[in-house]
Every structure is written in structure tokens, then in C-alpha cells.
Amino acid sequence: MEAVNLLPLQARPGRRWATVGKDASPRRVLTGGAAVACVAVVGLGLAYVHERSVLNDQRATLAAVQTEVVAADAKAAPIRAAQSGVAARMPAATTVTASRIAWESLLADLSRVMPRRVRLQTLSMQSPTPLAAGAATPAAAPATPPGSTPTPSVGSAPFTVTGVATSHVRVALVLDRLASLPWLTNVTLVSSTNGASLAAGDTFSVNAGFNPGGAQ
């Protein structure tokens, strides 16, 4: 016996869309399509109006925020200028402050360790790390009128001292005392010479390495 499908053609599996609109009037379908298109256009038009309104609100907000930013920037400009000025000067001030030698402490140390009956005649100390290393030496020291203060010159060694002691033993004591100073290294006797008379004493000259970091 042969099977017979009693379902209408459009309802049979695999043929669902085969007859869609087959019986509809084309004029009605197109009119309906045009109506749907019109509704879609109206909807999109409304969406456009809404987007425009959002855009205008955003523009107004941006303008307001930018006005506030300009006002705040104007107030902050002097502070920013001050901060950049501080940033430009502070490293130099910090470096110089940290690199400077406390000469007064060194002079105080020196006076403390000098034994009695020893007189210093000249003293010269040179920083191992001068801050103005590239500086040109002044062409000439100011002219010194006769009888006025002479110009002491900086010695060739980092630390140089000359003086007069009552004996060579006193000079030895000077060497020991100088060697005890933490900011002097390699204390070396250059010379110790008997004076012309007993009252003149022995003239001595001492050189040393200079390490001001050891003073701290």
C-alpha cells in the first residue's frame, strides 16, 4: 500500500517557505513594506534627534569642563613655575651643600692637636674635590703695597704646614699629632732644620694627603 501525505504543500517539511506570499497580492505586500520602511525611517529619525541632543549636552559639558580647566590652570601656573624653579636649583644647592668642607672644624682640630712650644708659620689646604675645578686662576693677585699684608700662596701638596719648634723632638710630636687627625693621610716631614741661634728654634715643613671626608 502506498503512503499518502495528507498535509498541504506549504506545511510539508523542507517546503515551509516555498509558498510564502504566493497567494498574497503584490500591491499589498509592497504597500506593507513601504509602510514598515516609513516606520523604520521615523524611528531612526527619532533616534537621530535623541543622539543630537546627547551630542549637544556633551558639547556643553565639555565647554564647561574646559572653562574650569583653563581657570584652574591659570591659578596653578605660578605654583608650577615655582616647582620647576625649585627643581632646577635644588640639585645644585644640595650637591654644593653636601660637597663643602667645614674648614672651621679642620682649623679647630689643628689648633687642638698642636703641641706647646710649636708655632705655625704657614698653612695651606686644598680640597681634593674643588667645586669650581675648571676655574681659571686669577691672573694676578691684587697688588700688595709695601709693608701691607702679604698674599699667602696655596702649596703644591694638598696639606702643607711650616712652622718653628723648640727642638727636633717637638717636630716629631707635631708629626704624631698630625697623623692622629682623621682627615690627614701620609703625613710626611719635608724638612726640619736647626735655626741660626738657639732662640730661633728648628724650622720644619710637613706635607700630607688631605681627606676632608674623614673629618665627619
Binding site: G21, A24, P26, R27, V29, L30, G33, A34, V36, A37, A40, A47, Y48, E51, V54, L55, Q58, L62, V65, V69, A72, A76, P78, I79, R80, Q83, V86, A88, M90, P91, A92, A93, T94, T95, V96, T97, W103, E104, L107, S111, T122, L123, S124, M125, Q126, P130, L131, A132, G134, A135, T137, P138, P142, S148, T149, P150, T151, P152, S153, V154
Partner: protein
């Protein structure tokens, strides 16, 4: 003509028409508006961030202190050599500590420690500890300790020193290689001055 097409084709045409209208409207009208809105949103966000940063700066106490700090640093490290002020400061320090300035000889500024140094050969005479006090006075005129700026005057540093006996009884003559600092830029005009204490 409409009567010539069948219902199925009309249905397809209607669907295509609606899709065309929707897509054309979206890409031609709505999408650019939405892009503009998104761009504006980003700009508003950026402006708000900038405003917040600036307001944080304006409200921070440290920012307000920087003006005072700059004034102090400008005193210690002025923009130019200002040799006349150097002479005045050295004279004040000398009279305060009881030494006499015999001569001041500034040289051309040289770069030093991120600033400019005006090297000065300074001759002073006085007693041993007064000369030591004079150097302490120069050192304490400007200093920075733990980021704290303490300024009474110019930033000075002594590189070298030499002391010898002065013909004046009981006095010593000292030659100091002194640096007065300034904050880069203008160069000093070297000059020699012998002030009267």
C-alpha cells in the same frame, strides 16, 4: 507593472527595501553621531582628569610651600652673578666675625655642580679663630639639609685656603679660593674690589 510580479517577489522586494532604508539611515546618519558622541565622551573624560590633577595640585600644601622655597633658593642661587651683592655679603660676614677683607678678585663663572660658580680669590686678615668663624659664617649663609632649605644669603663654598703670618702683629693673612654660586645663564663681569671694612 506591479501586477506582473508575484507575491513572493514582492515580499522579497519589501524586505530588501526595509533593510536598505534601515542600513542607509544607520550608516549615513546615526553612526557618525554616535562616533562624535563617543569622541566627545573621551574628551570630557580627559578634561576631567586634567581638572582633577590641577585641583589636587592647588589643594596640596606642598605646592604652596614651593613658592617660598623658590624665593629662598633664588636668594642662594640668583639668576646672575650679582657681584655687588657678593661684596656686601662678604663684608657683612667679615664685620660680624671680626676679620678684615683685604681684597676680592672674582673670575669668569664656570659650570659647577649643575649651576655656575663665580670663583673669587679672597684675601682676609684676622686672628686664627676669627678666620675660622668667617669661613663658618660663609658656609652657614645657605644650606640644604634633608631637602629643607635654610637661606640667609648667597651659597658659598671654599675650595682652598692658605694662611700665613701677617706683618700686623698677632694677625694672620688668609687667601681663600671661594666660589659664589648662581643658577646658570648670565655670566659675571669680573671685577676687583677692595672694600673698606
Amino acid at each position: 507593472m506591479i501586477d506582473r510580479i508575484n507575491g513572493r517577489l514582492a515580499f522579497l522586494l519589501a524586505v530588501v527595501l526595509v533593510l536598505l532604508v534601515v542600513l542607509a539611515s544607520w550608516f549615513a546618519v546615526l553612526s557618525p553621531q554616535r562616533s562624535k558622541a563617543a569622541a566627545l565622551d573621551t574628551q570630557i573624560g580627559d578634561a576631567n582628569v586634567r581638572l582633577a590633577t590641577t585641583q589636587t595640585l592647588l589643594n596640596s600644601p606642598a605646592a604652596h610651600q614651593s613658592a617660598g622655597q623658590l624665593a629662598q633658593l633664588q636668594r642662594a642661587l640668583p639668576d646672575d652673578a650679582d657681584v655687588s651683592e657678593i661684596i656686601r655679603e662678604l663684608s657683612r660676614a667679615a664685620s660680624k666675625t671680626g676679620v678684615r677683607i683685604d681684597s676680592i678678585a672674582p673670575s669668569t663663572p664656570v659650570p659647577s655642580a649643575g649651576a655656575q660658580a663665580v670663583p673669587i680669590t679672597l684675601l682676609v686678615s684676622g686672628r686664627y679663630f676669627r678666620i675660622a668663624n668667617f669661613m663658618h659664617e660663609l658656609r652657614s649663609r645657605a644650606r640644604v639639609e634633608d631637602g629643607d632649605v635654610r637661606v640667609k644669603g648667597r651659597l658659598f663654598a671654599v675650595d682652598n685656603m692658605a694662611i700665613a703670618k701677617s706683618p700686623t702683629k698677632g694677625l694672620l693673612a688668609a687667601t681663600l679660593s671661594l666660589d659664589a654660586f648662581m643658577s646658570g645663564g648670565a655670566a659675571a663681569r669680573p671685577s676687583t674690589a677692595t672694600p673698606t671694612p
